[in-house]
């Protein structure tokens, strides 16, 4: 998901909401689908709680995991290769 704005996310982007659904499993599938519809690939569910009408959920998309090349450093791959070379 190439985006200059996402480059500024230090590590992860969390999306929190409430989804109407029958159980936690359905809620988890829904939120993961939503994250993928939004264009995120490296996604997980940090927290989910189902009660009655639906789930309170916190989904996460990692933009930069440890060891990645951090977009917010403003260093493009070419420069990094030169520096590391």
């Amino acid at each position: 998901m190439p985006s200059k704005t996402l480059d500024r996310v230090m590590d992860a982007l969390d999306l929190e909401t409430f989804l109407v659904c029958s159980n936690a499993e359905e809620g988890k599938n829904l939120i993961l689908s939503l994250m993928q519809e939004l264009g995120f690939q490296d996604v997980d569910v940090v927290f989910i709680q189902h009660e009655g009408p639906g789930v309170r959920v916190r989904a996460r998309a990692y933009v930069h995991r440890s060891g990645d090349k951090y977009g917010w450093l403003g260093v493009d791959d070419h420069v990094k290769e030169v520096n590391h070379g």
Binding site: E16, T17, F18, V20, S22, N23, Q49, E51, G52, P53, G54, R56
Partner: protein
């Protein structure tokens, strides 16, 4: 027959969950072997072989490399020939049931697994959820209170003021009172529920209404911000309600305490969203909900009818809207329909009572000073409202939100006690509702420079030293301590809730974590935030207390002295309405302005 169970953490240190499960298994007469943390998988597998166990329960808290560790364990168990001989379960913070199943475990238990569930797994039975579902019952927070005065002079002053009000009000009426009478006497709810006409009611009611409702009854024209639901939307709601009813569950917030009852306000403008919000509040532990009407509704003579949605804050009071919301509530949920301040106060009480509300809200002082209704009109209307509250068996809170305008607590409390005294003399059950918040008064005077405990505690101490009556701080608790940040906002709500709990008040009204956000309606996740925070706060403190400093007692005495002085001044005026105009219960300088809506509409019978 007891099982032989091996419990082993696949972690360097974490084995608390397994120890708790071990205790549960021991109590259930199973034989348990708990291995220490940080053993290599090979060693755990060797123990399985040597000890000839029936079941293995592993735990894994660390998320890093969890899939690899689990896969390796299963491979080793296979290679040692024990995988098919034992039941293999794994649980812990890092475990997702689907991952465990994919890797060949018999069960995977994620965060939140109970000891009871783990024991059920070992015993090879389905865990019944019957026993763990929370069952709630409706509570009457006024039960057990005598309304006797502990402060005899204040009691005596209030008695004379009540007699003065009763003498003034007894031969007066208003359009609001007349509409309430028609609603009470001519509107047959059973006919209405059966979609039959209420001809006598319809012949009288529109004549008593202001322009907006009258136009509606004459031409069908609605208020511009409202619209009717379509039949498809109504069917959709009915399907939704049926689905949710089948899976509804509720939580209990108070941990080991019985009090305080926790209320959440709703009033999105749309009864559908309200129902959604109410059910989420109930599911996350709210014991009661408060119906919040639009501000224009309080300045309009009469109610509309029909199943209507509204584009702004506050849900339009109509019989159909109230009835749909009431029908969606859990049996245990206390339902308050507030009536305290507008031109429809007595009729709101009648309508709420007929439809099945448990509580209402009446305060002719706040309603006249902080919310825009003419004092004379509201006094007449509130008097009749109290009588209807008695008829329909609805206790009501006497809110003191004029403090938010800048009125000092002792003046607001004097007004609250005047309302409460009159109510008790009529036979009603008022509930005192002090603000539990960072009010303008304390911002100016500095009583909360050090902490938020002392002045709030002082209010409760003061009220308790005056009268034996139920207390329900609000509304909402923590007002003006909230910011737009949900962590901060949830935390300050929870802390105020815990203080209220420690002071053993009867109920509280809590905000949502977006209370301070002004860009749109409250959202459901924000409601859950404060309910969860409150639950955790109650769990943290349990039966333990919070100790105010000696300032609380000093300020309590100041409040009581201030109330006594105000009551004497009110009495000296000889006319309660004039006392309000004179600012004795909140002056213009303090931010309280006598309202104008309904001015000149009181008539003598």
């Amino acid at each position: 027959m007891g099982k032989r169970v091996l419990l082993a953490p696949l972690d360097p240190v974490h084995d608390i969950g397994l120890k708790m499960i071990k205790r549960g298994l021991d109590e259930a007469q199973h034989e348990t072997i708990l291995l220490p943390p940080d053993l290599p998988p090979e060693e755990i597998v060797r123990e399985i072989v040597d000890k000839k166990v029936d079941t293995v329960l592993l735990s894994r808290t660390l998320g890093y490399g969890v899939a690899e560790v689990l896969a390796k364990f299963v491979d080793l168990a296979d290679a040692a020939g024990v995988r098919e001989k034992v039941t293999l379960g794994i649980g812990g913070m890092a475990i997702r049931p689907e991952l465990a199943a994919e890797l060949g475990f018999d069960a995977g238990f994620g965060p939140g697994t109970t000891v009871e569930q783990a024991v059920a797994f070992v015993e090879g039975r389905e865990l019944s959820t019957e026993g763990v579902q929370v069952k709630k019952t409706k509570q009457d927070m006024t039960a057990g209170y005598s309304y006797q005065y502990r402060h005899s002079n204040i009691g005596s002053l209030l008695e004379v003021i009540s007699k003065m009000i009763l003498a003034w009000v007894e031969n007066k009426t208003s359009p609001g009172v007349e509409r309430a009478k028609v609603r009470d006497e001519l509107w047959d709810i059973n006919r209405w529920l059966n979609r039959q006409e209420n001809k006598e009611f319809m012949a009288e009611y529109p004549k008593l209404c202001g322009e907006i409702p009258r136009k509606y009854y004459e031409t069908g024209e609605l208020h511009p911000k409202t619209r009717r639901f379509t039949p498809e939307e109504v069917k959709g709601l009915e399907r939704y309600l049926e689905d949710v009813k089948a899976r509804m569950s509720v939580q209990k917030l108070q941990h080991t305490r019985k009090k305080p009852i926790v209320f959440n306000q709703y009033g999105t403008g749309c009864p559908y969203l309200d129902i959604g919000h109410v059910q989420v509040s109930e599911a996350w532990g709210a014991d009661g909900v408060v119906h919040f009407d639009p501000s224009w509704g309080a300045r309009t003579e009469g109610f509309l009818d029909g199943f209507l949605t509204h584009q702004e804050d506050g849900t339009v009071i109509t019989p159909a809207n109230l009835n749909r919301i009431h029908g969606a509530l859990q049996e245990s949920t206390l339902w308050q329909v507030r009536a305290h301040r507008g031109l429809n106060t007595p009729e709101t009480v009648v309508l709420a009572g007929k439809i099945g509300a448990d509580l209402t809200k009446i305060n002719f002082c706040y309603g006249a000073l902080g919310a825009g209704t003419d004092p004379e009109r509201l006094l007449v209307d509130a008097y009749h409202s109290m009588k209807y509250a008695i008829k329909y068996n609805m206790p009501f809170d006497v809110v003191t939100n004029e403090e938010l305008c800048g009125v000092p607590a002792y003046k607001a409390f004097a007004g609250m006690l005047i309302v409460a005294d009159l109510a008790v003399r009529l036979g009603a059950k008022p509930i005192l509702q002090p603000l539990f918040c960072y009010s303008p008064e304390v911002m100016i005077s500095g009583q909360m420079e050090d902490n938020y405990i002392d002045f709030n505690a002082a209010k409760i101490f003061a009220l308790r030293s005056i009268v034996d009556a139920p207390i329900w701080p609000g509304a909402p608790i923590g007002f003006l301590t909230h910011s737009e940040d949900r962590v901060q906002s949830s935390m300050t709500t929870a802390l105020h809730a815990c203080l209220a709990s420690a002071l053993e008040v009867d109920a509280i009204s809590i905000a949502s974590s977006d209370e301070a956000y002004s860009g749109g309606p409250i959202s459901v996740p924000s409601k859950i935030d404060t309910l969860r925070a409150t639950m955790e706060g109650f769990r943290f403190f349990g039966q333990a207390g919070i100790a105010p400093t000696k300032k609380a007692e000093e300020w309590s005495q100041d409040i009581v002295a201030g109330i006594e002085k105000v009551l004497q001044e009110v009495l000296q005026t000889g006319d309660f309405v004039q006392a309000i105009y004179a600012g004795l219960l909140g002056s213009r300088e303090e931010g309280a302005y006598p309202g104008r809506a309904g001015r000149g509409t009181v008539t003598t019978i």
